[in-house]
Structures are given as structure tokens and as C-alpha cells.
């Protein structure tokens, strides 16, 4: 049953010799065997290499004892990685037929840092093809199901990673967010998802979507676990010119329950005025009460209506993606451009249109100016408050097939995450209860490079509540 452990719990037990890394890895693989035929979170499972790495990890733990964890903080911990991170020699597809069969000749910085910290790769997870979506339904391969209800979507585009964590098929997972792709599936799958400040974590080796907002980050069973992973993957990377040279913070905090006295949490009117499902609204009110109980002060603020972010994000993302996917020529690597799916073609072409001569000013330039308004708006807000709180998604995970209802399904669903993503801020999604049998969550947004404050508030919340300890009861067919 070790697959149900968190990173922190697993490390304690590994240090004491109560469990082995082989056991952890084998239990995760057994869980994958049992449930992934139904859930379909994984595109590739690296069974042999994972068990081999785990055996080696156990040998080293025996030889060097617990002090190995000072050097390698995630030693022996099995994880799943979204399939848009280049893993040398291991198929990396971004769930697209254009990259099917592609084996990168180099390693992404995120997976390299995790490897150096001793983490063990279990496999690559399903996603919306090229991350174009918020449902994982637009994967060119297959749809991933929500472990809480196999007839519902897990969210996206990091749906495979979120589902893998929620189903305890791994101890933690890696995803990426352009606008909502970590926080969204985290909420719909009832787990914790952290989107770091843009530039805090290197994008080198990730299949690019919107280069000015893409942010790799962890999907985990707790905020403490998210901190443990961020501590490993954050930091300047000479291979990524947009990675931030600011020193990495101390995310793994000593305090068992950080003191929130004096912490000002902004409650934006425009984020709460939108139509929320009743269950989400009720859960959020309880969250606000809890933060007050913990010593924080809720401050009423206002932010630009998030609906404008839909326009900004749609234009920005399509424009940047048209440029990024132009490099896929099917000559140096990958399959011909005729293999692109409908969603990818749609986005590339719309992006080419908004960047084209005659339309650049009214679309792309206008969107980037509205982006300035959003950035300035947050800047003003953070002069009054330390963090901002709000719903992540307006409702519980929809049924499979939801993405087909609207060409802007993702953008509409992610409306509350787009502003902070466009502004490059950090954000975390935390579970806060259930509604109609499905998990509900909320988000905290922090200022640039203020992950320490974000994590402190999250730790305090999770130390005082048990929501993050719920996992779905699944039945194997």
C-alpha cells in the first residue's frame, strides 16, 4: 500500500528502513496495472528502468544511510511526468501524432534535476495534444478519465499527471501550465497543483506552447510535497534565457504550522461575482472562515474582470503557438505536419492570422496592451495584500465530451486562472471538500517569486484541515 504515501511520508519511512524504494515503485506499478487500463493516465510506462533505478536506490540507501537524502532530497521516490518534457531516449510525444515515436537526444532541465535528486521516472503521462486544451480530451491518442468518476474528465492539459496522482499510481507528478493546465486538473482531481512564477522553473526541453507563459510545476498529494519538488526544480538555467536568476527561496519550511497572523489575503469581487456552482460557493466560504481562524485578514479588493483575460489569452496563446509549432517540419524529427490534429491546426492558423500583416495591431498588439493593464492591476493589488484567493474552477469536473461543446471550452473554464498566468504570477490549487461526489478546490495567487508566502499559507491550511487526505475509492474491473 506504499503507493498511497506522500513524498514526505515515503522519505521518512525510507530513512528508517521501514520501506524500500523497490516496494514503492512496485506498488505504484501494480496500481498502474490495476487501474490504468480504465483511467488511461499513461502514454508510456518505464517499468524496467524504474525498477532497476529503485533497486540501485535501495543499494545506496543501505550503503550510505539516511544522509543520502541531504544530498538527494527525492531519492528513491517514483514520479510520473507529463509527456511534453523531453526525456532522453524515452518516447516524448506531447500526446500528438506529430511526435509519436520521437525519442529526444537530450534531457529537459526539470527531469534532469529530478534525476539528480534521485527521483525515479515511472512513465510519461497523457495530455491534450501539445497542451492545447483543458480536458485531456484532445489527446491524439486516448482520453484520460477522472479517478473520482470514470465518466468525467480530469481537466487538462496536465490531466494524465493529475489523474495519476489522484489514483495513487505515482507519489508525485510533473505538469506544466500556460493558463490553468496545472491548477485546473489539480482541482478537478482533488489534489494539490502548484504553478510557479514564470521563469522560476526552466522550460528547457519542454515542448513549447506559449513561450511567454509556460511554467513547469508539480502536482502532488500535499502542499508540503509541492514545496519539496519545487525546491529541486527551481532555479536559473543557462539553457533557458527566460529563467530567473533570483536566488531560489526556502520553500520547505520548518514550522509545522506557519503563523498567518498579519497575513492579508485579497478577495477579488470580480472572481466571486461570477456564477459558481452551489457546492463550490459553499466550500469557498468555509475556506475563507478557516483562513480567518488561522489569523489571516480577508481584504475586499477588486481586479479587472477576468473575462477580458479570455481574449488576451486566446490571442496570445494562438499567436505564440503558431510560431512554436512552425519548427515541427517532420524533417529533423517527428512526423509530417499532416499528422496535426484538428485542435492544433485550428490554433496555429488562428495565431498566424492574428500575427499577420493588417491584423497584428488589432489583435496581437491589443492583447499585449490589455496584458499590461492586467499586470499593473495585480501590481496595485499586491501593494495592499500578500496573497489573493479565489475559486479555481467555477464547478466540478464536467462529463466526458464537455470539450466538444465550445471552441473556447478551455479558455472559458480557465477564466479565473488566465489573469495570473498572463501576468506570470505564482499560484496554487488546494482541495477544499466535495460537491455531488466530486472534489472542489480553491486557489491562492502570489506575487512574482513569492512562492514562500504562497506555500506557507497552503501549509497552514492543510495542517488545519483534512481535505487533501481524501482519495477516490476505485473499483478495478
Amino acid at each position: 500500500m506504499t503507493h498511497k504515501l506522500t513524498i514526505a511520508e515515503a522519505i521518512e519511512k525510507l530513512k528508517k528502513g521501514e520501506i524500500t524504494s523497490y516496494q514503492l515503485t512496485q506498488d505504484c506499478l501494480d496500481q498502474i496495472d490495476k487501474f490504468d487500463g480504465e483511467i488511461k493516465a499513461f502514454v508510456t510506462v518505464c517499468r524496467e528502468s524504474a525498477l532497476k533505478d529503485a533497486q540501485e536506490a535501495d543499494r545506496v540507501i543501505k550503503e550510505r544511510g539516511p544522509e543520502i537524502f541531504n544530498e538527494k532530497p527525492l531519492f528513491g521516490i517514483p514520479y510520473a511526468c507529463k509527456d511534453n518534457f523531453s526525456t532522453e531516449g524515452i518516447e516524448t510525444t506531447a500526446s500528438s501524432n506529430v511526435l509519436k515515436g520521437y525519442k529526444p537526444p537530450f534531457e529537459s532541465t526539470v527531469t534532469k534535476r529530478l534525476k539528480n535528486a534521485g527521483a525515479i521516472l515511472l512513465g510519461k503521462t497523457n495530455m491534450d495534444a501539445f497542451a492545447h486544451g483543458s480536458s485531456t480530451e484532445t489527446s491524439d491518442f486516448f482520453k484520460t478519465k477522472n479517478p473520482w468518476d470514470f465518466e468525467r474528465i480530469p481537466g487538462g492539459s496536465s490531466g494524465g499527471s493529475a489523474a495519476a496522482v489522484a489514483a495513487n499510481m505515482c507519489i508525485f507528478a510533473i505538469g506544466s501550465e500556460t493558463a490553468g493546465s496545472i491548477r485546473g486538473p489539480a482541482v478537478w482531481c482533488g489534489i494539490t497543483g502548484l504553478k510557479p512564477t514564470y521563469g522560476r522553473v526552466s522550460r528547457y526541453g519542454t515542448v513549447a506552447m506559449a513561450s511567454s507563459t509556460d511554467s513547469p510545476g508539480p502536482l502532488t498529494k500535499s502542499a508540503l510535497d509541492a514545496a519539496l519538488v519545487l525546491q529541486v526544480i527551481a532555479g536559473k538555467d543557462p539553457f533557458d534565457a527566460t529563467s530567473n536568476p533570483a536566488p531560489v527561496g526556502s520553500y520547505v519550511q520548518d514550522e509545522d504550522s506557519p503563523n498567518l497572523k498579519g497575513l492579508k489575503i485579497g478577495k477579488p469581487k470580480s472572481y466571486f461575482d461570477i456564477e459558481l456552482e452551489v457546492g463550490v460557493g459553499k466550500a469557498l466560504n468555509k475556506v475563507l472562515e478557516k483562513f480567518v481562524e488561522l489569523g489571516a485578514e480577508i481584504v475586499e479588493i477588486d481586479l479587472i474582470n477576468p473575462k477580458y483575460s479570455i481574449g488576451v489569452y486566446t490571442i496570445l496563446q494562438r499567436s505564440e503557438v503558431s510560431s512554436n509549432l512552425a519548427r515541427l517540419d517532420g524533417i529533423r524529427y517527428g512526423n509530417p505536419r499532416s499528422e496535426f490534429g484538428f485542435e492544433a491546426k485550428k490554433r496555429m492558423m488562428l495565431g498566424a492570422y492574428t500575427l499577420s500583416s493588417g491584423y497584428y495591431d488589432q489583435y496581437y498588439s491589443k492583447a499585449q496592451k490589455v496584458r499590461t493593464l492586467i499586470v499593473n492591476d495585480f501590481h496595485e493589488a499586491f501593494e495592499k495584500v500578500d496573497l489573493i484567493i479565489g475559486p479555481t474552477m467555477p464547478g466540478i469536473a464536467p462529463k466526458l465530451g464537455a470539450a466538444e461543446q465550445s471552441p473556447l471550452f478551455g479558455e472559458l473554464a480557465d477564466m479565473l486562472q488566465e489573469p495570473s498566468a498572463i501576468a506570470g504570477l505564482c499560484g496554487i490549487s488546494l482541495p477544499c471538500g466535495m460537491s455531488e461526489g466530486m472534489p472542489v478546490g480553491f486557489q491562492l495567487i502570489g506575487n512574482h517569486l513569492d512562492e514562500e508566502k504562497l506555500i506557507a499559507a497552503s501549509l497552514a491550511f492543510q495542517n488545519a484541515t483534512e481535505y487533501h487526505k481524501s482519495f477516490p475509492e476505485m473499483e478495478a474491473k
Partner: protein, 99 residues
């Protein structure tokens, strides 16, 4: 903003995007783009006359590579996924023979 994206617009965009579309797809995309771009009209409700564009939010400028050139891919590694390698080079369609 144009009232409608025409099929000719879509064909032109497909060409500059280096994508081939079926006639059916051309029709579908024309409709979809018109719908999506109408939605973008809402951005005109905001006054942006006094702001400049934000292209990136890091504030970083002139990030240069260090003088010590690091290892790059070997020829073998670079060609490892090539669709049509020829004599140790990437093979492509002939340029001068294209219409």
C-alpha cells in the same frame, strides 16, 4: 475587425502555416475563426491608449550565453530522429524543383 473570415482567408492562412486542409476543413475553420474573433471584440471595451505592450514579464534583457561553449549534440544524436537522413545530413525535398 472583419465581419467574417472567408474561405479564401483560411486558404491563405493555411499556406503561410504550412498546413494542408481539406475543403470541408476550410469551411469549418472559416466559421470557427469568425466566431472566435467576434469574442475577441470585447478587448475593445478597455482603453489601452496610455499603455505599451507587455511581451514578456520577466523584465530580463540581453541574457547572453557564457563564453565557454558547452557541448552540443553529436551528429549521430542530431540525426537520430531524422525522417530521411542522406550521407550524414538531413534529407529534404528538392528546393529548386518545387512549383
Amino acid at each position: 475587425m472583419p465581419a467574417e473570415i472567408t474561405k479564401d482567408d483560411v486558404r491563405r492562412i493555411a499556406k503561410i502555416s504550412n498546413l494542408e486542409l481539406s475543403e470541408d476543413e476550410v469551411g469549418v475553420f472559416a466559421k470557427l475563426f469568425t466566431e472566435t474573433l467576434k469574442y475577441m471584440d470585447m478587448l475593445n471595451e478597455l482603453d489601452t491608449s496610455s499603455v505599451e505592450e507587455t511581451y514578456q514579464i520577466t523584465g530580463l534583457t540581453n541574457v547572453f550565453q557564457s563564453e565557454n561553449v558547452s557541448a552540443t549534440l553529436s551528429k549521430e544524436a542530431a540525426l537520430s530522429n531524422a525522417s530521411d537522413p542522406v550521407d550524414g545530413y538531413f534529407g529534404t525535398k528538392a528546393v529548386f524543383e518545387r512549383e
